[in-house]
């Protein structure tokens, strides 16, 4: 194989890049390959149409099965075109005849369903291998790459997409007034004539994708062989050798100076001229016999003085004088410590915000503590007289009752009893007791019941007063809640006891007490 004339750039590629190169080749050669495909496929397709008795579904499957038959000539054509011998249109029949050898048979029988078809086609067609050697070759080539399989699957789907696209395009683009394509029938009902349209469109899709498929497989094959056999290196080595041969042949006719120049230009740069001295025998012989060191140096200097090796030029231009960095710049500018000032301000802002947050926190805490204490009913049990326990102020008691307290409470009570207003009398007496209790420093909380007040009183008051208080509370409760009017005499006795406990004059108990008009009747 002459790699020198190869029409694609050889370089190590990833498998997928190989596939892409194939698509590029397929586009480049599309028209030729497409025509070639139809030249092979059309007679076969017509023949199969007759053989399948006009059934489009069978026909489509049969044509699909024969695809390797149409791909072989494409492969043959592409193989020649790649090596720079692009076949003329007149050679097509010859190419088809050359491609359809008996080696194709396995591809149409048991290897038809192999998924690496286009990748392995060159082994059969271009290398002409068959039997065990072909099997070994195929195994080596397909070792460890998955792209050929994917290529076949992808191209299968590309065909389906093109087929569906054309069918849908026919449906979308034909105006409603015209007879329209029945898509369902075209895809599913194999006995309907529209199914033929679908089948022919599929054949069209085969023909469009086939050149790309074959070329992609072919270039995958090339990529694989380039990887395994370093074709690109062979090509580069051959070119280098040919050039060297040409240079050696021309060496005797060239002047020595020219030869040296070539050596200088083409060799790697080096500080010492000696390093360039070619070591291969023919050149060394030429150089050793003709030139001595001094002459060579002169020649080198002359050659280097040539314009090609650079020249000196004098250029005059104006450059702005460097500005002194210390010099103040005109115009207002930001103060240099503006940033520092901003940082300072931000700092202050930060701390004040923090202080504000702290103050808020303290305030909230106080509020919470207050709220908790207010809502917690806590009675002084073991600490009599402690003020801080209840915060129901004595002031509250001042509001008890609408009317103000009379100066002489016992007299007022007695008057009320005489007027038969027992309830008012008791109320006044009870209120007076409570106020008195409050004045003695007992804090009565808001919402305290009569029993609570009695309990508080028991802790502070002297025993006789507590006894009176207990009786008063009991009587009051009976009046207030049970609406049981106590007899006037009982009230008078209570009042007398109340006064006695406070060392007040008890008043005329004799005539009014037991013989009151309000006695029980």
């Amino acid at each position: 194989m002459r790699l020198d004339a190869i029409g694609a750039r050889l370089r190590p590629r990833r498998p997928w890049e190989g596939v892409d190169l194939g698509f590029a080749l397929g586009r480049e050669w599309f028209v030729s390959l497409w025509i070639l495909w139809w030249i092979t496929a059309l007679p076969v397709a017509l023949l199969l149409a007759v053989l399948t008795g006009g059934r489009p579904d069978l026909w489509l499957v049969a044509v699909w099965w024969c695809k390797p038959l149409f791909e072989a000539p494409l492969q043959f054509w592409a193989g020649r075109a790649l090596l720079g011998e692009r076949p003329e249109p007149a050679e097509r029949v010859g190419i088809i005849r050359g491609a359809l050898t008996r080696h194709i048979l396995p591809l149409l029988l048991w290897r038809r369903l192999g998924l690496r078809r286009s990748f392995l086609l060159p082994v059969t067609l271009l290398e002409g291998l068959s039997g065990a050697s072909a099997r070994r070759r195929r195994a080596v080539l397909s070792d460890g790459i998955g792209a050929p399989t994917w290529l076949t699957l992808i191209c299968y789907h590309f065909e389906a997409i093109l087929w569906g696209g054309v069918l849908l395009g026919l449906v979308f683009l034909v105006p409603e007034e015209l007879p329209r394509l029945d898509l369902t029938a075209a895809v599913t009902q194999s006995d309907s004539p529209v199914y033929w349209i679908s089948a022919v469109v599929y054949l069209l899709a085969f023909s469009v994708i086939a050149p790309f498929y074959v070329c992609a497989g072919f270039s995958l094959y090339l990529t694989r062989r380039t990887e395994l056999e370093a074709w690109d290196l062979e090509l580069a080595f051959r070119r280098a050798r040919d050039e060297q041969d040409a240079a050696t042949r021309g060496a005797t006719s060239l002047t020595v100076a020219g030869l040296l120049a070539v050596g200088l230009v083409l060799s790697l740069p080096s500080p010492s001229a000696e390093a360039f001295a070619p070591r291969d025998p023919p050149l060394a012989a030429v150089l050793d016999t003709v030139l001595d060191r001094g002459e060579a140096q002169v020649l080198i200097r002359e050659i280097l003085a040539d314009e090609d090796f650079g020249s000196t030029q004098e250029v005059t231009l104006w450059l702005p004088v460097e500005r002194d960095p210390a010099e103040p710049i005109d115009g207002w500018t930001w103060p240099s410590d503006f940033g520092a000032l901003a940082v300072r301000l931000a700092e202050i802002l930060k701390w004040s915000l923090l202080a504000l947050a702290f103050a808020g926190l303290v305030w909230l805490t106080l509020k919470v503590i207050q709220g908790v204490a207010r809502n917690r009913p806590r009675w002084p049990r073991s600490r009599p007289g402690s003020r801080d326990q209840g915060d129901g102020p004595p002031v509250l008691l001042e509001g008890l009752g609408a009317e103000p307290f009379p100066d002489d409470i016992p007299a007022s009570v007695r008057r009320l009893i005489d007027k038969d207003e027992h309830r008012a009398a008791l109320a006044l007496l009870y209120r007076a007791s409570l106020v008195e209790l409050a004045r003695q420093g007992v804090a009565i909380p808001r919402g305290a019941t009569e029993g609570d007040c009695l309990a508080l009183a028991a802790l502070t008051l002297a025993a006789p007063r507590v006894g009176v208080m207990a009786r008063l509370t009991q009587t009051w409760s009976r009046v207030a809640y049970a609406h049981r009017q106590p007899p006037g005499a009982e009230l008078m006795a209570l009042l007398d006891d109340w006064c006695r406990a406070r060392d007040l004059p008890t008043g005329p108990t004799g005539p009014t007490g037991p013989t009151g008009p309000t006695g029980p009747t």
Partner: protein, 232 residues
């Protein structure tokens, strides 16, 4: 003789440097798309339990669907040049001058997927890629982008430690590169083939067989490391 066909697109910078962009064709891009579909389905499965919150959850799922359809490629392409699928296939999206893709171009090329998708499963995009010499679909043409192979960092050269010998004078640059490549890739080739290759070059100085291989390796060592006494 026409230029050899290749999938490399050269872009010349103002400094006169040729950037080689290896454009990727429809086949690897189809696989990358397939992988992305899988990734997106997986992401969708993650948000699907949101359907438990009936109305609100459905709304969130619809938003996720929208994002996965329209923003998924854009976000990944702008962030790292490639969606997960492309990354697995070793591909990336760049502008056609080789610069990283920006939000605007990425949005254009991904919004135009609606056109490329027509009439079914990227039919238009496939035809466009087959026709265009840089395998661009319509979205790429509009946005001025290319899908290229991401360059892997070059492997550390492994030139065997043999006594260096200067190669023949006047070797062109390509030949020097080939000699170095021979020393690095020679072990991947069968012995017979290695000798055959070496004899092409070393045959000219009368070396045959394994001696030719040794000769080429010695030249490679000289090219890689210079002369033993430091003169190279």
């Amino acid at each position: 003789m026409p230029l050899p066909i290749d999938t490399v697109r050269l872009h010349e910078t103002p400094e006169g440097v040729d950037l080689a962009l290896r454009v990727a064709g429809p086949a690897p891009r189809a696989i990358a798309y397939l992988l992305d579909v899988v990734v997106r389905l997986a992401l969708l499965l993650v948000v699907l339990p949101l359907a438990a919150f009936s109305g609100f959850g459905t709304g969130l799922i619809l938003l996720a669907l929208f994002g996965l359809e329209w923003l998924y490629p854009v976000v990944f392409e702008v962030r790292s040049g490639a969606t997960p699928g492309k990354r697995i296939m070793g591909l990336m999206v760049v502008h056609d001058d080789g610069t990283p893709v920006r939000v605007a171009s990425s949005l254009i090329r991904n919004l135009l997927r609606t056109v490329d998708f027509l009439p079914i499963l990227y039919g238009v995009g496939l035809v466009s890629m087959l026709v265009d010499r840089d395998f661009r679909r319509l979205g790429d043409l509009a946005a001025g982008t290319l899908v290229v192979y991401a360059d892997a960092p070059p492997a550390k050269p492994t030139i065997s430690r043999v006594a260096p010998q200067p190669p023949p004078a006047g070797l062109p640059f390509e030949a020097q590169q080939a000699i170095l490549a021979f020393a690095e890739r020679g072990h991947a080739v069968s012995d017979a083939r290695r000798i055959e290759l070496a004899e092409i070059l070393a045959g000219g100085v009368g070396r045959q067989g394994e001696a030719a291989v040794a000769q080429v390796n010695a030249w490679a060592a000289w090219l890689a490391r210079g002369a033993p006494d430091g003169r190279g």
